[in-house]
Amino acid sequence: MPTITLIQAINTALDEEMNRDERVMLLGEDVGKRGGVFLATEGLQQKYGPDRVIDTPLSEAAILGAAVGLAAHGMRPVAEIQFADYVFPGIDQLFSQAAKLRYRSGGQFTAPMVVRMPSGGGVKGGHHHSQSPEAHFAHTAGLKVVVVSTPYDAKGLLKTAIRDDDPVVFMEPKRLYRAVKEEVPSDDYLIPIGKAAVRREGRDITLVSYGGPMVETLKAAEEMAAAGVEAEVIDLRTVMPWDKEAVLNSVAKTGRLLMIAEAPRTASVASEVAATVSEELFDQLLAPPLRVTGFDTPYPLAQDKLYMPTVTRILNAAKRLLDY
C-alpha cells in the first residue's frame, strides 16, 4: 500500500474514475497542460486528452454553468475552482442551476457533478486565498458538501462524490495537501457521503471538527490525554448532510460537545451542530456546547495562524466545558 499525500490521493481518485467511466471529465482553469495550480490534475490531460480534461476560459460562471449542462446531458463533470474564494463569480450557477435543477424540474433534469475547491487558510495566501465558505453551500438546498482531512478519505470520498447523482461540493483544505501522508489502498474503495469518522475514542468530552483544523483538534486531544482527559474526536467529513447520529451518540456518552471549525462562527456548520445537540440532548449535557471557530472578520493575512483554531483555544474551551 503506497504512502501518499492528500493531493496525490485526489489525483489518484480522478485517474481511477476517469479510467472506470468515460463520462467522467474534468474542467477548470489550468487543469490541463499545467495540471492545476496545486497539481491535483497533473498528467491527466496527457492521459485522457484535451476533450476530457478541458482548460476553460478564466470564468467560474462558465466552469460551473457548463458543468451543469454537461451533467444534465449525461457527462460526469468534475469542475475545479482554483481557490474556494473564487467560487463567488460563479455562485449563481451553483445556487440557481446546479443545486436547484432537480427540484425545479420535478426530477426531470439533474446535475450530477462535483465541484472541487482548495479551501481554508494556513498557507499565507491572504484574504482571497484562504476562506472557508462551506456554510454558504451547506445552507443551499440541493448541494452536498464534503470537507476532507486525510488522504485515505480524499480518495474514497472523491470517488463516491463522482458517482453520486447529486451535485457535490468537494472542499480540500490546501494546507493539508502535502502536510499529511498515509497509506492509501491502490484498489477501488468508497467512503459514503454523510458518514463521520471517529478519529479517537474517549469518554470525557466530544471534539467535533472537519477539514484543516482536524490537525489542531487531534493535537489538543493528545495533550488532553497526557493530562488524563480522554477526548473522543469525530471528523464530520461531510458537512451537508452531516452525521447527526455519530455526533449524538458520542455526546450522549461524554455529555460535552466542543465544535472546532475554521470558518467564521456566526451561522456556521459549527453553530448548526451545536444547536442540534442542544435541542436533542439538553437533559444529558453536563455543560453547554461550545464553539472554537474562525472569527466573523474577513480572513487576515498577518494573523494567518491566529485566525484558525489554535490548540490553545481548543484546550481553553475544553477546560471550560470540563470545569463547568
Binding site: 476560459p57 458543468a67 425545479r104 426530477g107 447527526k244
Partner: protein, 369 residues
C-alpha cells in the same frame, strides 16, 4: 455541404427579412416549403396568440398568479420551434417562451398545469407560472435568474460535441439577458469549444421597463457575436419565415461541426413585461399602437393569402378548433388538483437525507392533526 447552402450573411446592417409587410416573398431564393408546412406555421402562431389571450384571462380572473405575455413573439418562437429537431435537439428557453414550448409539442395540459401550479405540472408546482420544461422533449426547465441558463446550454453543447450526438443546444433569452455576466461566460466558452450551440435573442427592446438604449451601447445584439468570434445574425423576428430559415441555417451549421452562432430576432412585446407590470409608465400608447400595426400574424396571413393558402373561413375554423383545444386542456388541468404537499421534500436530492426526513415528518404530523 453546409457551405453550399449558405443563404444568410452575418452582421447585416438591416434585419434579414424574407417576407415584407404586405406579405410579398422578397428573398432571392425559393422557399420550397410544402403548403401543409406553411399552414402549420400559421396554426402554431395562432395557437401561441390564443394561448397568450387565455393566459391573460386566467390572470384577470385570479386563477393564476403570474404570466409573462408573449404576444408579438409568435413568429420568432414558431420559427425557432420548426427549425429544431424536436425531441432530439435541446432547448434552453426563458420565461417568455410559452408559444415556443407549445410549438415544440409540450402538451397544453402540462402548460396549464404549470400555469396553475397544480398536479398537472410535470415539475410538481415548484415554480411560478411561465417556467415550463419537458424531459421527453429535451426542454430544460426554465430558471428565473436571468441568463443563468446560458452557461448550462454551452455545457450541454460541449457534451453533444464530445459524445458526437449530432444534437444542437438552442438557448433563448431576452435583450436584458445580454447584460449579465453569465451570458458572456456562456457564449465565450461555447465559441472557444466550437460547440454546437445557437444562442437566440428575442429582442423586444425592453427589459421590463428599461429600453434597449439603456441596456447596451452596441448598435444591436447580433454584433456582440464579433467579440466571441462567431457569426451574428440580425433578423426580423416578426417574419416567421426569416426566423425559421436563419435558425435552420444556424442549426445546420452547428450540426456540421462549424460551432456556435448568435441569432437576434427583433420582435415586439405587445403586452407588459408581466402581469405585475404596468407598461404605460414607460412607453407611450402611440408607440404600442404603431407596433401592433406590425402584427406578425397579419404579415404572415397576407403572405399565405398570396399563396392561396389562407381564407377567412379556414382561419375561423382554425381559431375555433384551437380555442376548443385550449378550453378542454384547461378543464383537464384544473381537474388535476393540488400536488401532494409532502412532495415539497422530494427531488431536493436523489434520496432524502435525515434532515429532510425529519422535516417531512413534521409536516405530515401537522397535516394529520
Amino acid at each position: 455541404m453546409v457551405q453550399e447552402k449558405i443563404r444568410f450573411q452575418p452582421f447585416s446592417s438591416e434585419p434579414i427579412r424574407l417576407v415584407d409587410e404586405q406579405g410579398h416573398w422578397i428573398a432571392p431564393f425559393e422557399h420550397g416549403l410544402p403548403p401543409e408546412q406553411l399552414q402549420r406555421f400559421y396554426r402554431d402562431m395562432l395557437a401561441a396568440r390564443l394561448l397568450d389571450e387565455k393566459l391573460v384571462i386566467l390572470i384577470r380572473t385570479g386563477k393564476t398568479s403570474f404570466i409573462a405575455p408573449h404576444a408579438g413573439h409568435e413568429a420568432a418562437q414558431v420559427g425557432i420551434a420548426h427549425a429544431l429537431r424536436k425531441g432530439h435537439d435541446w432547448l434552453f428557453p426563458y420565461y417568455r417562451d410559452m408559444g415556443l414550448v407549445l410549438a415544440m409539442g409540450v402538451p397544453l395540459v402540462e402548460i396549464f398545469g404549470q400555469t396553475l401550479g397544480n398536479a398537472a405540472d410535470p415539475a410538481k408546482g415548484r415554480q411560478m407560472p411561465s417556467h415550463p420544461g419537458s424531459r421527453p422533449l429535451n426542454i430544460f426547465t426554465v430558471c428565473s435568474a436571468i441568463a443563468s441558463h446560458v452557461p448550462p446550454a454551452a455545457g450541454a453543447a460541449i457534451s453533444m460535441k464530445l459524445r458526437r450526438t449530432h444534437q444542437v443546444a438552442v438557448c433563448t433569452f431576452g435583450d436584458g439577458a445580454t447584460s449579465e455576466g453569465d451570458w458572456h461566460a456562456g457564449l465565450n466558452f461555447a465559441a472557444v469549444q466550437g460547440a454546437p450551440a445557437v444562442f437566440v435573442c428575442e429582442n423586444n427592446r425592453y427589459a421590463i421597463s428599461v429600453n434597449i438604449s439603456k441596456q447596451t451601447a452596441s448598435q444591436n445584439i447580433a454584433v456582440k457575436a464579433h467579440a466571441y468570434g462567431i457569426p451574428g445574425y440580425y433578423v426580423d423576428g416578426l417574419d416567421v419565415l426569416a426566423s425559421y430559415f436563419v435558425m435552420q441555417e444556424a442549426l445546420e451549421r452547428a450540426r456540421a461541426g462549424q460551432g456556435a452562432s448568435l441569432v437576434e430576432l427583433v420582435v415586439h412585446r405587445f403586452g407588459a413585461h408581466s402581469s405585475a407590470d404596468d407598461d404605460s409608465r414607460y412607453r407611450s400608447r402611440e408607440e404600442l399602437a404603431a407596433e401592433r400595426q406590425q402584427d406578425p400574424l397579419l404579415r404572415y396571413q397576407r403572405f399565405l393569402e398570396k399563396q392561396g393558402l389562407w381564407d377567412a373561413q379556414w382561419a375561423n375554423e382554425l381559431r375555433l378548433e384551437i380555442s376548443k383545444e385550449l378550453e378542454a386542456a384547461l378543464q383537464e388541468a384544473q381537474k388535476a388538483g393540488e400536488p401532494d404537499p409532502l412532495q415539497m421534500f422530494d427531488d431536493v436530492y436523489a434520496a432524502r437525507p435525515w434532515h429532510l426526513e425529519e422535516q417531512r415528518r413534521l409536516v405530515a404530523e401537522e397535516l394529520q392533526s
